[in-house]
């Protein structure tokens, strides 16, 4: 039973993080298209935001299975 719950939970986490990453990409792409001269700054900030959102999923994957055991 735990296997089911954990798999579902990780799936939900991946869903949310995917939506978050998509939103960041959406915002950054829109900004870059509107202001091509700001691409450098936007890319750097986008990567920072991507890293932080990605960390949420990594924390889920590495910490939740251990704490539920």
């Amino acid at each position: 039973m735990t296997g089911n719950v954990l798999g579902l939970g990780i799936g939900i986490a991946a869903l949310g993080v995917g939506i978050g990453l998509g939103l960041i990409g959406y915002g950054a792409m829109g900004g870059m298209a509107r202001q091509p001269e700001a691409i450098g700054k936007l890319q750097v900030n986008m990567l920072i935001a991507l890293a932080f959102v990605e960390l949420v999923f990594l924390l889920t994957v590495f910490i939740v299975p251990g704490s539920l055991r």
């Binding site: 089911n4 798999g7 920072i48 890293a51 990605e54 994957v61 299975p65 251990g66």
Partner: protein, 274 residues
């Protein structure tokens, strides 16, 4: 159904570092070997790139047609732009440390493309890197603001009267978040590189199960190889993010109040800017 539950728990257990027979990181002597490999690659390339520097007519040395020195120049320019863009005009003095981090992380990640494991696929190596990085940030903060000024920086804005209790709470929370920076830096790198390995492993298993070429011999199409381009992208991006976050932390602790005044007049305006 039973089978599915069984496999899924074992996979999750593997992700949670408590799996049974699966290998987790290279182990101590494996780590020594891989770090030695990375250092040998780095020092070899750099000593090779250094050969042309003293000759009268400057020629960039190439190795098998690859411009080694040119690559190092490009890395330097990239890191310099990263530092100056993130930290500000005084960020140029941190280029050395950030470049060391970038090259160490990047070449360790590159090893992950060709070998079964890599230094950065081991949590202890990443934690060491993160400790060095955050320790360096604290050292630079103490150098910039003084010991007392650096620790007062943790307590947030100046509050009077009974609100000093809030400052105390903020201080404790800031110290915890400073310690958590180690965890976040190391876990991000470890998760990405080791996750890449696990993904490639899973894809290879998929190929073995779907298209068994050799029957009993276990010959199969290595579908995981198709993950190589995206793993290469991950290598570059993770090395860059590690350095970028170190830069951001540095810019947070070495932030001066007169920074805006300096920036307004110190930066030369590009010709194309309007």
């Amino acid at each position: 159904m039973e089978v599915w539950i069984g496999t899924s728990t074992s996979w999750l257990a593997a992700a949670g570092e408590h799996g049974g027979k699966e290998h987790h990181g290279p182990g101590f002597w494996g780590l020594v070997f891989y770090i030695g490999l990375v250092l040998a690659i780095l020092f070899g390339l750099m000593s090779f790139a250094k050969t042309g520097l003293k000759s009268r007519v400057f020629t960039k040395p190439t190795l098998f047609g690859l411009p080694v020195l040119g690559a190092f120049e490009q890395i330097y320019l990239f890191i310099e732009q990263l530092c100056v863009g993130t930290i500000g005009a005084h960020g140029r003095k941190y280029v050395v440390m950030i470049m060391v981090f970038w090259m160490l992380v990047f070449f360790s990640n590159l090893v992950a493309l060709f070998f079964p494991t890599a230094p950065t696929a081991d949590l202890s190596f990443n934690l060491g890197l993160a400790l060095v990085s955050i320790g360096y940030v604290q050292w630079e903060g103490i150098k910039a603001n003084g010991l007392f000024g650096h620790f007062r920086h943790f307590a947030g804005p100046k509050l009077g009267g009974m609100l000093i209790l809030i400052s105390l709470i903020i201080f404790v929370i800031e110290i915890i978040s400073e310690l958590m920076k180690n965890v976040s830096l190391s876990l991000r790198l470890y998760g990405n590189i080791d996750g890449g390995h696990r993904a490639a492993d899973a894809m290879n298993e998929l190929g073995k199960n779907i298209i068994p070429l050799g029957g009993d011999t276990g010959l199969s199409i290595p579908i995981g190889a198709f993950l190589m381009p995206i793993k290469l992208l991950t290598c570059v991006v993770q090395a860059m993010i590690f350095c970028l976050l170190t830069c951001v932390y540095l810019s947070l602790v070495t932030h001066h109040e007169d920074e805006h005044h300096e920036e307004g007049h110190g930066q030369p305006v590009p010709a194309g800017a309007h």
